[in-house]
Amino acid sequence: MFGIFKELIVSSGLVSLTGGNLIMWLVAFTLLYLAVKKQYEPLLLLPIAFGILVVNLPLTFLMEPEHGLIWFFYHYGIENDIIPPLIFLGLGAMIDFGPLIANPKTLLLGAGAQVGLYVTFFAAILFGFDLREAASIAIIGGADGPTTIYLTSKLAPQLLGATAVSAYAYMALVPIIQPPMMKLLTSDHERKIVMSKLRPVSRLQKICFPIISAMTIMLLVPASAPLISMLMMGNLFKESGVVERLTKASSNELMNIVTIFLGLSIGATMTASTFLDPRVLFIFFLGLFAFVVSTASGLLMAKFMNLFLKNKINPLIGAAGVSAVPMAARCVHKVGSEANRRNYLLMHAMGPNVAGVIGTVVAAAILLKNLG
C-alpha cells in the first residue's frame, strides 16, 4: 500500500518541479488575469497563458521533439511557417483597403512608422543582442503579431515567446502608449485639423488593389511572398464579392482554428529555462521603445509631408502607421476628437493603419533577406 503511494509521488511531476516552473506559473497566471479580467487581446493571450502553464508542468513532455503534442503544433505550424501566413489570409479577408486607395499618400505614413523599427534595431545591438536577435526585437515596433512571429521563428527562435508576448501585450496597450507621444509631437492647432472627406472608391478599384500590390511588392521583395500573397488573396476574396464562403472561411473559421494553435505553441515555447533569462526584460523594454519610436517616426513623417501638401493632413494619423489594426486608428480618432469634438479621423487613420501592415511585412522581408 505504502509502496504504491511512493511510486505515485515519485512518478508525479511534483518532485521534478523547479523554482523556475513556479515563476512561470506566476507569469501564466498574470497573463490569464490580463486576458480574462482586463480583456487584453484575450484571443491570443488566453491560449498563450495556458500554453505557458502546461509546458511548465514537469514530465508532461508536451514540447518534447518528435513526441509532444504541442511540439507537433509548433513544428508544423510555426517552424514550417504555416500559421502566420494563414492568419494573414484571414486578416486580408477582413481588411478594407478603401481608405488607403482613396488617399494613397498614406502609404508613405505606413513607411514612416517603420523607421522606428530600424532605430530599435540599432538600440538592440547596443544592448548586446546579435544582429538576428536585434531584428526580431525591432519588428515588435511594427505592432504586427503574425509578422513578429514569422520573423523571430526564422531569425531567433529562442526569443519567440518574449517577442510574441510583448508584441501582443503592447498592441493591447496602444491606447496608453501612443497618446503621450502624439500630444508631445503635435500642437493643439495641428490636432484640430479636419481632413476633407475621402473620395468614394469603386468596386473595381478595390479589386485591382490587391492584385497590383501583390505583384509590385513580391516582384520587388520576393522574401515577402508568403505573407503578402496570403494577405492579398484574402483581400481579393473579400473585394471580389463572388466567393463569400471562402471569405468567411478565411476570416472566421480558419482564422480561429489557427489562432488556437498559434497561441498555444507560442506559450509552450516559454519553458522556465528559455524564458527566465535577464535578457527577456531587455526585450520587453526594447519592445516598448520600438512602439514609442515607431509612433514618433510616423507622426514626424506626417508633419514632414505637411510641409509640401496644400491639403494638410492631420499629423495624428501618422501614429496609425504602426499597424495594430484597428487599435492605433481608434487611438488617433480619440485624441483627435479630444482636440476638436467634430474631428472624425477614424477612416482617415485607417489608411495609414493598413499601410502599416504592408510596411511591416516589407520591412520584415528585407530584414530576412539581409540576415536570414
Binding site: 499618400k105 531584428a135 488593389f209 497590383i212 520587388l220 521583395v221 516589407v362 528585407i366 530584414l367 540576415l371
Partner: protein, 64 residues
C-alpha cells in the same frame, strides 16, 4: 556578448531597410494613383458613353 559586432553589416541592414521600405511604398503609391486614374477614366467614359441608350447604362452599373 559585445565580442564582435559587424558594424558595417549593421549599417547595411539599417540603410537598405529604410530605403527599401520607402521605395516599395512610394512605388505602390504611384501605381495606386495611376490605376485609380485609369479606372476613373474607364468608368466615367462608360457611363457618359452609355448615357444615350438606356439598357447598356444599367448593365454597366450592375457590373462595376
Amino acid at each position: 556578448m559585445h565580442s564582435m559586432t559587424d558594424w558595417s553589416k549593421v549599417l547595411e541592414v539599417f540603410g537598405s531597410g529604410i530605403v527599401g521600405v520607402y521605395l516599395v511604398m512610394i512605388l505602390l503609391q504611384l501605381l495606386t494613383q495611376l490605376s485609380t486614374r485609369i479606372i476613373d477614366m474607364v468608368e466615367n467614359g462608360k457611363t457618359s458613353g452609355d448615357a444615350a441608350p438606356q439598357p447598356p447604362g444599367t448593365d454597366v452599373k450592375g457590373k462595376v
